[in-house]
């Protein structure tokens, strides 16, 4: 038996910290939550109100732009139609909105953090264990404080999804920049390029294939969070799975599960096609 005297009350300190945050910064969190919610509600409304064929046409157009292949485009459009035939179109649009916002937020936060890590070994030393923690910690552990700070609903669901899904884009941005050929960087510096010119003209374009791979992984991970997110009040396909389990309605669970997989496939194919394209252009593409 490990002696009780050596017990460090970490749990208590964390509780105290969360309480302190709620008391002192409650308003700030609320303002942030409101802003996020406004954007999400707007997007959700837009997607649900838009005619289904228009949504499919837009996704098909993106798929074609990414892949330049009619076969892929047709396949992905059919996958979206299949979601509709399962009777889950409306739920899928709710999930899509949540996913787009969570992925967008992950990328907006993740790329600058990744750049920072590539530039500073100190930041990197701090971030690596933090990222490991974000990926291995069971999501319920940070769902609780997220609930306490933001209340039940869509915002904590987004926060939890961002925490879970942002590590790949951060890691791969860092890696991509660090892998840029040292001699190319020296050449750029030798011509008197400033840090900004090196970042925008050399490091980011050459890191792009890795960054795209990171964005793709982040997207996939945010889709995989939809069921867990629905436990704290996010609507959509995850909710269908959840109520299916609760009512022992296996059929409903399977239907929703298939819809989630189809959505994931659509985004994975689009993401991978963009990844391939950037790999090509980083090697011998359309100039900068």
């Amino acid at each position: 038996m490990f002696p009780d005297k050596l017990n460090i009350p970490l749990g208590k300190s964390v509780n105290a910290l969360v309480d302190w945050l709620v008391v002192n910064y409650g308003d700030a969190f609320e303002a942030f939550a409101d802003a996020l919610l406004t954007v999400l509600v707007w997007l959700e409304h837009l997607l649900r109100a838009a005619p289904w064929w228009l949504v499919i046409a837009i996704i098909a157009a993106i798929a074609y732009h990414a892949s330049r292949s009619w076969k892929t485009t047709l396949g992905l459009a059919l996958a979206m139609v299949a979601i509709g035939t399962l009777g889950l179109w409306d739920k899928a649009m709710q999930t899509l909105a949540l996913m787009i916002i969570a992925t967008g937020l992950s990328v907006i936060i993740g790329i600058p953090v990744g750049i920072g890590m590539a530039m500073s070994n100190k930041l990197r030393a701090v971030m690596i264990p933090l990222l490991d923690m974000m990926q291995t910690m069971p999501s319920f552990v940070y769902l609780i404080p997220a609930l306490m700070l933001f209340g039940l609903g869509k915002v904590p669901a987004i926060i939890a999804t961002v925490i879970y899904a942002s590590p790949p884009v951060i890691r791969l941005t860092d890696l991509g920049i660090r892998l840029v050929d040292k001699e190319v960087l020296e050449a750029s510096r030798s011509f008197g390029a400033s840090r900004g010119q090196i970042l925008w003209g050399v490091q980011l374009p050459l890191a792009l294939p890795n960054i795209m791979a990171g964005i793709n992984q982040t997207t996939m991970m945010s889709i995989s969070m939809v069921v867990i997110a629905s436990m704290i009040g996010a609507r959509g396909l995850g909710e269908q799975v959840l109520t299916g389990i609760q009512r022992l309605d296996v059929g409903q669970g399977v239907e929703a599960g298939i819809a989630i997989v189809l959505l994931a496939v659509v985004f994975d194919r689009i993401g991978q096609s963009y990844g391939k394209k950037s790999r090509h252009s980083a090697k011998a593409g359309d100039g900068a």
Binding site: V184, E186, A187, G192
Partner: protein
């Protein structure tokens, strides 16, 4: 004062260079310092003066500090101790902004593995230096086109680097360095990655360009033939220390130590040695000026070209300077002795 002055540069690689620096300043050698402190000595007490318009070659084996040295001239690497002066200004005192302005205005660099931007076309690569200077698009592309043509790559403007052969890629590298019209060209083993025939072409091309442009060129190589062909003067590095600096003939005729001698052993001496170095100078007092029937040759004629003349006219040869004044004599025996040495 010379155009470029490097004074007592030390470069120690590692997190705590002070102790290793003290040892290096006491004259300890690179290996001992590495075992004692775990720090690598990149350069140890290197001083150099480079004149405007000369081609200055730095030579040494791999790991001798050549790349480290040339990177000090544009401060891609900062020294642990010492001074670097350009036209009297200590570049180590420059702020980042001033340093970038200095690099843009004065320096161009060519790299061993080319260092081209893989995602940009040949045209954009060559225009890169001007883009950094925020020259407008039309102007920089015009300048780039001119240099692309000059290095013989007209028609490849829209190609990407990985579509070109090594020799062509290095022509892009050379054009890129010249497009900003720098005073100084830094070339780190620029031709070492190329096949021998292409390397020789590029050397000729560089010599031709230099005869028109009169840049100050600092050229790094591990190949003595290349050094002798291109260099007005040659410096030899060993384990980060400067062993010898001199004109090509001096390096070949009077190698400072066994390290230099090992370099010169396999060299074709007849290509390096010139009439001026071999001749018996004419003594001003005695005026024993050879004979009027002897042929006259220029003072900078190479031994390989003198040899057939010496065989045809065994009696003797007059050596004249650029004003056609006789400054010395050569006999057939002297020529043969020089070859045999």
């Amino acid at each position: 004062m010379s155009y470029i002055d490097i004074r007592n540069i030390y470069k120690i690689f590692g997190p705590n260079p002070q102790k290793a620096l003290t040892l290096a300043q006491k004259g300890e050698n690179k290996n001992d310092i590495l075992t004692q402190t775990g720090h690598t000595v990149g350069l140890s007490n290197v001083s150099l003066s480079i004149e405007q318009g000369e081609t200055f070659v730095v030579m040494g084996l791999s790991g001798s500090g050549k790349s480290t040295l040339i990177r000090h001239l544009n401060r891609l690497i900062d020294p642990t101790a010492g001074e670097i002066l350009f036209g009297g200004e200590n570049i180590l005192n420059m702020t980042t902004a001033r340093l970038n302005a200095f690099r843009r205005a004065k320096l161009g660099m060519v790299f061993q593995r080319f260092g081209l931007l893989p995602h940009c076309t040949v045209l954009d690569n060559v225009a890169y230096g001007l883009k950094i200077q925020k020259t407008d698009r039309q102007k920089r592309q015009d300048a780039a086109r001119k240099w692309i043509e000059r290095v013989g790559l007209a028609g490849y403007e829209d190609s990407f680097p990985d579509e070109l052969s090594g020799g062509m890629q290095q022509r892009v590298g050379l054009a890129r360095a010249l497009t900003t019209n720098p005073e100084v060209l830094l070339m780190d083993e620029a031709f070492s990655a190329l096949d021998p025939l292409i390397r020789s072409d590029m050397q000729d091309e560089l010599m031709k360009l230099q005869s028109e442009l009169h840049k100050t060129i600092v050229f790094i190589t591990h190949d003595l033939d290349e050094a002798l062909k291109l260099g007005d003067r040659i410096a030899i590095l060993k384990d980060g220390a400067m062993i010898q600096v001199g004109r090509p003939e001096e390096i070949v005729m009077k190698p400072a130590d066994d390290y230099v001698r090992a370099f010169t052993r396999d060299i074709n001496r007849s290509r390096v040695l010139r009439a001026k170095t071999l001749m018996m100078p004419i003594d001003d007092n005695t005026q024993q000026a050879g004979s009027g029937d002897w042929p006259e040759i220029a003072a900078d004629m190479r031994l390989e070209d003198i040899l057939p003349i010496a065989i045809a006219c065994p009696a003797g040869i007059n050596v004249v300077n650029h004003k056609q004044q006789r400054i010395g004599t050569l006999s057939k025996d002297q020529v043969i002795a020089a070859l045999a040495a």
